[in-house]
Symmetry: C2
Subunit: 527 residues, 2 copies
């Protein structure tokens, strides 16, 4: 903190300092940053995919407080190289197969640059008409590519909006559904509302419902079965609805999923929407990952039945090249969003809004402020064109097929659930190595597959993550990083195989050494 003397000294310099947005300095430094990032992409396959640092590593590299005086960009970039990059898990690496992809592209990057460059705050139409209008146009474009029913498009009385994430999309629609019902039955009954999903639904649903004040006991994660490929059976929903109604509760909302996080399972939309309609509950379809695939005619059938839903969303930042964050959401009746989320303070009143000829997107989302996200979606659609975008999706699916084939051909492994899109779920197939079938129960196989996952990730050559489905621990291999090519997938398979060989070798013990084998097994299972 400065003394009064410092303040006076600083004040003398007010006029001399460079403008923080000086165009020529902007040009110089931004060109430098472009080269830095281009070089990063050249080298990204050489870094350990999963960062290998330990908790607290960065506090040891950086000072305890911000500098008082300006530092040159060169020094900052040096620190990025030395201290930040080692702490990054490289989602843009061609060897990244974890979670779901975070899909960057040149067009997505340029769209963000332009959005950040303009730096407009498009909460209402007037604050930057192009920001609102481009979003309505691009959401109609994308809705048509997905062959969404006309009621979801602006041209059909509905409309699309860009949220940051699926969590926000779900929170907005739960809130809209909630207020629609409470306005009828009375605010005091908030504790009676019930929200439905499956035990495979993303945790965003539970979190959003809780934020919206739904009683935690009233969030039903309905059980799925292997025999339904972990999709939610409409009869299960029907029975849950009947139970709740008989208890005097009020069914509110169903979140159905196309492409679950654990295993890319697909809920049967048509059947679920029919059951939901019997109780007039809001149906939201979360196609966060798999929605992108549905731009291909051969995958479109996965969202058949969407016409029965109230809202639909997918994350263009996952598998549609826009960079984080860009969740595309459509609703049939925007008025329910507006009723629940609008604010009309005096300081935002303006003639355009009062003319009722414009969309004010602040009333379709949680926050007031919003970035000009549609630029990146527009640039992706134009820079690549629909045909190339479909082909990119297909090339990822083809690579996943290749990996699936490699897994299937190796008898030490098995594919756990059918592959729908570009993700393969696999595990070690019992019996393992020299272990007897008796020793290879579910717990053991799970524990050893987890050890395989850790070993693969520790190589730094590949990053994969896991899920547990129907009690089975599986490794998820999700293809979708833009830089991934067939050769990377083949290398990844080599890494998995090598690590599995090393691991299984531990169990190739001679029968007389059974005691030692037991010890190894105990270690494997209990860590």
């Amino acid at each position: 903190m400065g003394s009064i003397h410092d303040v006076a000294l600083e004040n003398n310099n007010v006029a001399c300092q460079p403008n923080p947005l000086d165009p020529e300095e902007f040009r110089r430094q931004s060109h430098m940053m472009v080269d830095f990032i281009a070089d990063y992409y050249h080298n990204v396959d050489k870094y350990p995919v999963l960062s290998q640092v330990s908790p607290g590593y960065l506090r040891e590299c950086l000072p305890d407080s911000a500098p008082n005086h300006a530092e040159p960009i060169e020094a900052i970039l040096q620190d990025v190289r030395n201290h930040i990059i080692p702490g990054i898990t490289h989602w843009q690496s061609p060897n990244y197969y974890a979670y779901f992809p975070s899909s960057g592209s040149i067009a997505g990057f340029l769209g963000e640059m332009l959005s950040v460059g303009f730096n407009v705050v498009g909460f209402n139409w007037m604050s930057s008409p192009a920001a609102t209008e481009l979003e309505t146009i691009v959401m109609d474009w994308l809705g048509k590519i997905l062959n969404l029913p006309k009621q979801f498009l602006f041209s059909g009385g509905g409309g699309g909006v860009l949220q940051g994430t699926t969590c926000e999309a779900i929170l907005c629609t739960v809130t809209a559904a909630r207020d629609k019902v409470l306005n009828k039955i009375g605010r005091d009954r908030i504790g009676d509302l019930v929200v439905y999903c499956s035990d495979q639904t993303h945790c965003a649903l539970k979190k959003a419902a809780q934020i919206a004040g739904i009683h935690p006991d009233n969030i039903r994660a309905l059980q799925t079965r292997r025999s339904d490929a972990f999709g939610l059976c409409p009869e299960t929903l029907r029975s849950a609805l009947a139970d709740d109604v008989s208890e005097g509760l009020v069914p509110l909302y169903l979140c159905a999923t196309v492409g679950t996080t654990s295993s890319t399972a697909v809920d049967p939309l048509r059947g679920l929407c029919e059951v939901a309609a019997e109780h007039d509950i809001w149906v939201h379809i979360d196609a966060a990952y798999a929605g992108s695939a549905c731009i291909c005619p051969e995958f479109r059938h996965f969202i058949d039945g969407v016409e029965g839903a109230n809202s639909f969303s997918f994350n263009a930042h996952k598998w549609f090249f826009t960079t984080l964050d860009c969740c595309c959401m459509w609703v049939k009746e925007p008025q329910h969003l507006v009723n629940a989320l609008s604010t009309n303070p005096e300081y935002l009143r303006n003639n355009a809004t009062e003319s009722k000829k414009v969309v004010d997107y602040k009333d379709w989302q949680i926050a007031l402020s919003r970035r000009f996200r549609s630029l990146k979606l527009w640039m992706v659609l134009r820079s690549y064109g629909v045909a190339n975008l479909r082909n990119s999706i297909r090339s990822h699916v083809n690579m996943a097929e290749l990996f699936e084939e490699l897994v299937t051909k190796d008898e030490r492994f098995e594919v756990v659930v059918p592959r729908n899109f570009s993700m393969v779920c696999f595990r070690l197939r019992p019996p393992l190595g020299g272990l007897s079938a008796r020793d290879c129960g579910l717990e053991t196989t799970n524990a050893i597959t987890k050890r395989l996952l850790d070993a693969v990730n520790a190589t730094g050559k590949v990053f994969v993550t896991h899920a547990v489905v129907g009690g089975v621990y599986l490794i998820r291999f999700a293809v979708g990083s833009p830089l991934t090519e067939e050769r990377h997938v083949r290398s990844a398979w080599m890494v998995v195989r090598e690590q599995a060989e090393a691991l299984l070798a531990e169990f190739k013990v001679h029968p007389v050494m059974q005691e030692q084998a037991d010890a190894v097994l105990t270690q494997a299972v209990h860590g």
Copy 2:
């Protein structure tokens, strides 16, 4: 939608298409975009600040659907020039004085580029350790610059987090406060919880409280008075709390503001926190705009009393050069956020989280996914240094002082409320032109000041917005766009004066033409 034949055709091209993240193509196109944006900054003062387009203009310029084939970046940039820029309200223009500033800078832009380039999804520590660790470090740096009490820093048991916007910050803290109380008194009492603010508080509070399921009747916008400079009087709060408690309701949360949107009024934090403590309610301090100024020792007193609050936030994207979006929030007890917002699905389990040695920011916010926002804050702090940042704030305040002086010296105008930071609230001073004092009641003066605002904005040379405080319609002149210099402020004043002269000339009628004068007045007031 393609036929099967098309699909086959497209499939043949899978291998030939360029990689969407090809480093050399990335370099080429990104350099082009840098130059495009640098040129935009060179010319931004030449565009009408407030976009002059009409609703629906863009649908007439763009095709009805996305292109099937790729288009070159040159064609897209041409469309940005021809169709997007005319529809932009130029928040980066030096002649922008509306709402609050959206403060861009070279460092903020570079930080975003880097964040988008890495495109990591930092929901938990493991997903990119640097993203989490840099955020904890930079939030401690910034907390120290603001001289926040140690309990708000990680080094003191609290901690900071970057939210997108203040709306999110408020929603997260309302939810945390809500669950803390409901876990004690029972979930069924959600309808009894009461949230407090003043009639000057930003609409984000009401929206967040409603999303969180607080009964709309239980949001108290307590009246402020001109005699308190529109700050919330602690006695008003005390009395409201007592009333609610006597009704059996449960006081939950107070949002106090430092620098209100309408007039940059400041609530007396110390007194409010003392009253709030009597009922153990959560106090959040929203310093969205004015928090940035508090890095200067001479403005720090405006947040005196923050030590009594539970959480504090300000928007670095408003007046701290980070570009949208970057809301800095600190809490004393992060555990309450985690209790309300955490999710622990199997597919996110990992060894680092289980070691309990790391922060997983997904549990401090609404969404799961999160961008690497701390990069831009870090780059702003290092590129400029604390001394320059203070001086930038001061130069904006100095320019606002200058404008205030110009307004004060002209007897046709008056400053409506005392200026605290870099915003001047002014209006036409009655009596206006040739009108009698009798004719210049509040309604008339308000209506004519609104006409002045519309006339000023219609020139395209300046963009200002309005508020109504204590019934008085006023024009807000908020300095803070990075490119604004003293000469721009002087020009803006000339525009205001010229438009006022033209407007007031309408009322300089001869007494015998009283009928005509009445007609003009009616037109002025009723549009």
